[in-house]
């Protein structure tokens, strides 16, 4: 028979390859950092490359969902190769800090550059860009004067006119968590029930589809992160939807952060801190936010021109740590209210 030897050869090769790959140790060079990032490759790699170019420090990274990365950190324990955990929302940073996976950092630079409400009070994580979640509307169907707050979208006047994204997305969980913080659980639940009663159609899987639905006239208003809107209008300037800054004068626009912290078991925590400080100012900070049309957290850094064109707004200044602390409660509230 001719076949078995070929099979054997292939098995041998596979085993050999696997063995070689597993024996080669993850060598920790003196000047290198390992980042576990939930911020995706196309947004983050240019930043790392820039850092390597400026400082000679090599940055290795892996990407995955934040919850998976946190679970991974916990499983690896003190042998984890990671120095920095980076996420795209405050919830998982709060969770990682709660579980003792991040270490406190004392840094005058970070404390100066990152506003107080966008970082952990104990210095375990810091926000490096803001993601604003506000109201979007169809200008042919809605007079912006009729818009005011997130809460007002629960009013029966919006019956059959509201579109929402799924409550599975952390952005909505954070928004509702912040509402629990400001309104209390009972009042927040009334608002969410009002939203559900006003839905024009089933909830959407993503903000982009929601914006398309507003533009196409399936619904009149919705709640979205601004950069999704930005991505669309960058390619289609005549896109039939506008942004409205919610809750001006009554708490401000809900913002979440994309942020990072130093891993508790990091053997390079000084180098990790230097990287975070570098990320909080100058070109790095500008690029970090602008590459995804987000808002920088450092108020002294320039925004992308398209982002500037949406005008200034007053953000909520409640510490984003609440988004994590109240997230589980928000999820339960939305389940109770039938917000899927």
């Amino acid at each position: 028979m001719k076949r078995p030897p070929l099979h054997r050869l292939l098995v041998g090769l596979a085993i050999a390859a696997a063995a070689v790959a597993s024996v080669v140790p993850a060598v920790a060079m003196a000047e290198s950092l390992v980042v576990y990032s939930a911020r995706n490759e196309q947004l983050i790699k240019p930043v790392f490359d820039l850092y390597t170019k400026e400082t000679g420090v090599d940055v290795k990274f892996t990407t995955a969902d934040a919850a998976v990365l946190v679970t991974r950190l916990a499983a690896e324990g003190r042998n984890s190769p990671a120095d920095i955990l980076m996420t795209v929302d405050a919830g998982e940073l709060w969770n990682a800090a709660e579980r003792g996976l991040l270490k406190p950092v004392r840094s005058p630079v970070l404390e100066r550059n990152v506003p107080k409400h966008l970082r952990d009070p104990h210095g375990r994580w810091f926000g490096f860009s803001q993601r604003a979640r506000t109201i979007a509307y169809n200008p042919r169907k809605v007079d912006p004067k009729s818009l005011s707050t997130y809460e007002a979208l629960a009013d029966p006047a919006w019956k059959g006119r509201l579109c929402l994204r799924t409550s599975k997305k952390v952005y909505n969980q954070s928004l509702v968590a912040m509402m629990i913080k400001t309104l209390g659980e009972a009042q927040a639940e009334r608002v969410v029930r009002g939203w559900v009663a006003n839905l024009a159609t089933d909830v959407f899987a993503n903000d982009t589809a929601l914006l398309e639905a507003i533009a196409a006239g399936q619904c009149d208003v919705g709640i979205v992160n601004t950069y999704y809107f930005g991505r669309i209008v960058r390619e289609r300037p005549d896109f039939n939807a506008r942004l409205f800054w919610a809750n001006q004068g009554s708490g401000g626009v809900h913002v979440n952060i994309s942020g990072a912290g130093v891993v508790a078991t990091s053997r390079n925590s000084a180098a990790a801190q230097r990287f975070l400080e570098w990320l909080s100012e100058g070109k790095a900070q500008e690029f970090f936010a602008a590459s995804n049309l987000e808002y920088p957290t450092n108020p002294r850094v320039a925004k992308d021109p398209l982002v500037v064109s949406w005008g200034p707004f007053q953000p909520s200044v409640i510490n984003v740590v609440e988004a994590g602390r109240l997230q589980a409660a928000a999820v339960k509230l939305m389940d109770r209210a039938g917000y899927r």
Binding site: A19, A26, V68, A75, A328
Partner: protein, 541 residues
């Protein structure tokens, strides 16, 4: 009766192969030591009743429709001559190459209110015209059926072509017409294969997250992620996953029953070519049209959309790195499918030669990984390996102090391949078992009397007869691995990027149009084995 060494070998094989899946499943069950009472009482009251009902309905819908579609197409292609038959023979497998999570986004976008179909519909038929709600169980069932029917199609077709000729002859000699022969003889004979196909479809539906998320259907799997990602309770997520594994085991038991008695087996698997019925020109045209329609909806149109998106972004995103993405994806999928198919043969053969009940049950258990959500399985396997790595590291540190090398076993290809084995063994076992089932036991006895036993008998008697099934298994696993995401994402070494990882990078930020480019490459790479296999089909059967 097999000898003691043979029984010991069979038992050892099955035990070893059950380990990779036992680790995550047992860690899921272990989570029950401390039930997350708070999360559970909430889930039971507000989430699980709906999610459970949705899951059952979805599995039923997809199982029945993929089973019917796959079997019908297999019978059409295997037993009839019509224009384009050879082309459709392999082209109907093509939807396998499209990742379900990508297809779901294409369909959800195209069929929604703001999509081209409804926009055109409103322009033509008036502003109040609507399709039935797209983001629904119906939408998810449609996409899952279109991406998963090829499992049934492929296994049923191998079954029809390898055993059909003799059976059809015999049935017709007994006076049955072709239709009656199909219904009363060939279909029952192909039952193990069809049941195996539907079993795979059902398990993949249970484990699916991408498609149901795109259509916003709450299922058991989405509830698992809600507990983990939303409520920070990995414990509750693992506890739910343990229930899912239990459910899959029960379902596998039922599927055993569905396969029925295993008495159907021919002396020679290649009893000559199945005599194909030449359809009249009119019928032939209808057959070709029907096959074209399935192919258009399940493959050509979604691919066209992906190509259009890919074209928009190729100028920026397509660069030299893609060569690496493709090579790594193909190498991973190829080595993974070799490992899985060899394991499947070992398992199938051990279960065939040793019929003890506990061993059979353990064998079923080894396949249950396919029904678990990929991320849960990845975590369940990753955590123990990371812990083991920790112990070894501690030992090294004690011995060498600061000079000790840093281990990272959990992020290596070895861990990846183990996890692939845990997850995809079922995909390999399905075709191999139904292939083995078609080989008559008399053949084993004859081989034994001629002095061929154990591995020699496998190599010289069974493998040649199994070639079609082995190729089918290898292809199915290869294509599945090309699309695999959660395990690869979690266990890959630093900087190890594949095509599926690229899709994740873009999709995680909602940039679906940019995810099209790597998706197109996944489809292209997945089509190669489909096409190769199709060419072998004509030689093999």
């Amino acid at each position: 009766m097999s000898s003691f060494p043979a029984r010991a070998a069979a038992a050892t094989t099955v035990l070893l192969l059950a380990v990779p899946v036992a680790v995550p499943v047992l860690s899921a069950f272990a989570a029950w030591a401390a039930p997350a009472a708070d999360v559970w009482s909430h889930q039971l009251q507000h989430v699980l009743p709906r999610a459970g009902w949705n899951t059952a309905l979805l599995v039923l819908l997809v199982g029945v429709s993929a089973g019917a579609l796959g079997t019908t197409l297999a019978w059409l292609v295997a037993a009839h001559d019509f224009p384009g038959r050879r082309f459709f023979g392999w082209a109907l497998l093509a939807p396998l190459a499209l990742p379900g999570y990508v297809m779901a986004v294409v369909f959800a976008g195209a069929l929604d209110f703001s999509g081209p179909l409804q926009t055109a519909g409103r322009a033509l038929l008036g502003d109040t015209w609507r399709l039935p709600p797209v983001r629904s169980i119906g939408g998810a069932a449609l996409v899952l059926t279109l991406t998963l029917y090829p499992y049934v199609y492929m296994l049923a077709r191998v079954a029809f072509e390898s055993t059909g000729a003799r059976a059809l002859e015999a049935a017709q000699s007994l006076g049955l017409d072709r239709r009656a022969a199909f219904r009363r003889v060939l279909l029952p004979m192909a039952r193990p294969a069809i049941a195996a196909g539907i079993g795979l479809v059902a398990m993949e539906t249970l484990a699916d997250f991408g498609v149901v998320a795109a259509f916003n259907v709450d299922t058991f799997t989405t509830s698992i992620y809600r507990a983990w990602f939303g409520m920070f309770s990995l414990a509750a997520a693992l506890q739910m996953a343990a229930l899912l594994a239990l459910f899959a085991l029960v379902a596998a038991g039922i599927e055993r029953r569905l396969r029925g008695r295993r008495g159907f087996a021919s002396q020679r698997s290649s009893g000559g070519m199945l005599q194909r019925l030449r359809l009249s020109p009119g019928q032939g045209l209808c057959a070709a049209a029907a096959a074209s329609m399935v192919l258009a909806v399940a493959f050509v149109l979604p691919l066209a959309q992906l190509l259009a998106w890919a074209w928009q972004h190729a100028a920026v995103d397509l660069d030299r790195r893609y060569l690496g993405f493709v090579l790594r994806s193909v190498a991973l999928a190829a080595s993974g499918s070799i490992v899985v198919v060899i394991a499947a043969v070992a398992l199938g053969y051990a279960l065939r030669s040793d019929r003890r009940t506990w061993l059979q049950s353990l064998g079923r258990f080894a396949s249950v990984g396919y029904a678990l959500p990929g991320t849960v399985l990845a975590v369940g396997l990753f955590a123990p390996i990371a812990a083991m790595n920790g112990w070894m590291q501690d030992w090294l540190d004690v011995r060498w102090g600061d000079a000790a090398p840093q281990l990272a076993l959990q992020g290596t290809l070895l861990t990846m391949l183990l996890a692939y084995l845990a997850r995809f063994l079922a995909v390999g076992v399905g075709p191999v078992e139904s292939g083995l089932a078609r080989i008559h036991r008399n053949l084993d006895e004859v081989a034994l009397s001629l002095g061929a036993r154990g591995p020699a008998r496998l190599a010289r008697v069974h493998l040649p007869l199994l070639r079609g099934s082995l190729l089918a298994a290898a292809m199915l696993v290869f294509v599945d691995l090309m699309k695999e995401l959660p395990i690869t994402l979690m266990t890959r070494p630093f900087g190890f990027e594949t095509l599926a990882v690229r899709v994740f990078e873009m999709a995680a930020e909602g940039e679906w149009a940019r995810a099209a480019l790597p998706s197109v490459f996944i489809v292209a790479a997945g089509l190669i084995p489909v096409w190769l296999l199709a060419r072998r089909f004509t030689h093999v059967t």
